[in-house]
Symmetry: C3
């Protein structure tokens, strides 16, 4: 394991073929890095984490297709916590934090300076912007797009399947959620398939969002209704 420049490995690491790890990175114990992964410089990867996992295909999955996926990329100065799972075909930016027990699936990208909280799941085919926070245990469904400077509180649920898994027609309607730059979602909120939260839109804690959220507006309730304006001093443009 001396092929990399000044990289420290814990015990029992498993390294696949054709991987690269930048200088000064620190890899924990029992870490598995699969084939073709490219890890930047000064990256920290904690114990029991798996990088570059290959796709599982269920007999019964709506998402199972043959995919040609690139090796996982992790940018310089990022920190990957303990027992994280990152798939082949995921791309993580620079100075990102992916906290313990999170998972990031294939064809998903995470922008620079973003924080992915403990236990978070970001499914496949998502884009997450820069300087965004997705807090503990939140679930981002496949095909979602989260912008820059967004804040998604803990335990938020999203969905992409209005047809609830029945009827072949649903394959034409899978639609993730979209949160535009500066959008915010409160703790334990629920966001239905295809919903767009526009710039600086805000969802209150516990809300069930069934309609798009206008720019700069707050919605609250079950189902969520317009509740007011995001205060001027909370707008993204006044907090950059």
């Amino acid at each position: 394991m001396s092929e990399f420049e000044n990289v420290v490995f814990g015990n029992n690491c498993s390294l696949g073929k054709n991987i690269n790890i930048g200088k000064n990175s620190v890899i924990g114990n029992n870490v598995v890095i699969h084939e073709d992964s490219v890890i930047g410089e000064n990256v920290r990867i904690d114990d029991n984490t798996v990088i570059g996992k290959t796709l599982m295909k269920a007999a019964n999955s709506a998402m199972a297709k043959d995919l040609e996926l690139e090796g996982t990329k992790i940018g310089d100065n990022s920190i990957i916590g303990t027992a994280v799972v990152i798939y082949r075909g995921a791309s993580i930016g620079k100075k990102v934090l992916v906290a313990d027990q999170a998972a990031i699936q294939f064809k998903t990208s995470i922008g620079d300076f973003t924080i992915i909280g403990r236990g978070v799941l970001i499914e496949s085919n998502c884009t997450i912007g820069t300087k965004t926070k997705i807090e503990s245990n939140t679930y981002i469904t496949a095909l979602s797009h989260i912008g820059d400077h967004c804040f998604i509180a803990p335990c938020v649920a999203t969905s992409n399947d209005n047809y609830a898994g029945r009827d072949k027609e649903r394959f034409n309607h899978f639609k993730g959620v979209t949160v535009k730059n500066g959008g915010r979602i409160g703790v334990h909120a629920t966001i239905l398939p295809g919903i767009i939260i526009n710039e600086d839109g805000m969802v209150a804690a516990g809300a069930l969002v069934t309609k798009d959220v206008p720019s700069g507006k707050v919605v609250a309730g079950v189902p969520a209704k317009l509740f007011g304006d995001v205060p001027e001093n909370q707008l993204l443009k006044n907090n950059l």
Copy 2:
């Protein structure tokens, strides 16, 4: 580790006594397979997964009893993801997918072709039917029974203890939830102890279900009320 026919092991696997693994199975790195486990043919088990975990007994647990449990069984052609925990006394069918970071406890069975999503917890003493999907992060409480062709969306919560852990009387009333064949539950819904969702019953996203759901009916809201009928073209009998 050459005692099994054409089985591929990753690094650092730990194998207990008296286990069997069918031919052409592929076992990842750091996988632990405890005593008496029986793994079928052509099974994939990914990195850091633990099969056949023995019961933990808390000083203070409502469920702690001495149990004689059989070894874990995993059927042919099933896929078990990364960092999954499956207990001794669990039985997994054929062509099942158990996704990453899920857990399946003792005396629980999972039917053929069923998908258990990422991070899902299926507690003890549950039965899950065939061709059912339980999506990411959903929690199925002990003593629950889910039928065939059910769809349980992500982040659903269930419960089995109406007495909220106080008062010895509660030990007589633990009651899981029941979802009959073709029943469906929307994202982030909550299902109270003992509730029955009858055939083709459907719970809307975010609903709090405090009464049984009649066959073929949709319920919605907090608390959930009757909302309408499941459309004819969504009934299970028209989608087999």
Copy 3:
């Protein structure tokens, strides 16, 4: 690994410097115990668990400060499940159960006889009392205080950031939740920042708690309103 008295280790364990493990403890496979950890007697730690993890500092974290943390402590007769993550600076009492895939962060203490359920996250700077149960998948935000004999059902969400991550002012307002002795919270409830649930207060399933809960009262709904009194026979003083 024979330096400890009658301690059994599984395969591939990694032990840091200056750790102690009491007699008759049983350590699973692939367990990582970092520097300065102190494990009591007759402790069970299951496969793939990490004890004594050091703090991760994100470029963009609200909590990142240099901390001098003591080594992790785990009391006698406690059981730590599979794939658990416990940070340096956490202190676990005696006869505690921390179930699989849970995480306990730094500067947090867990009292004797308490049960921390599967997948639970207890963040930093929390105190959890004795004989309390925190059930599967519940999330306890940083800076929270949970008393003795509390019951927190599965899938409960808490929060500590009323400013939703925007505006520097918020650093002065982070405030966890408080549950006083005998307080109870139902499945899938949501508790907002700074809320106090007083002695024997009870939150119904699915409630969104936006105001403090008076002692011995039940609240329910979204947002939660006073619903009635906790029955006399359910009061803590009648169940000790």
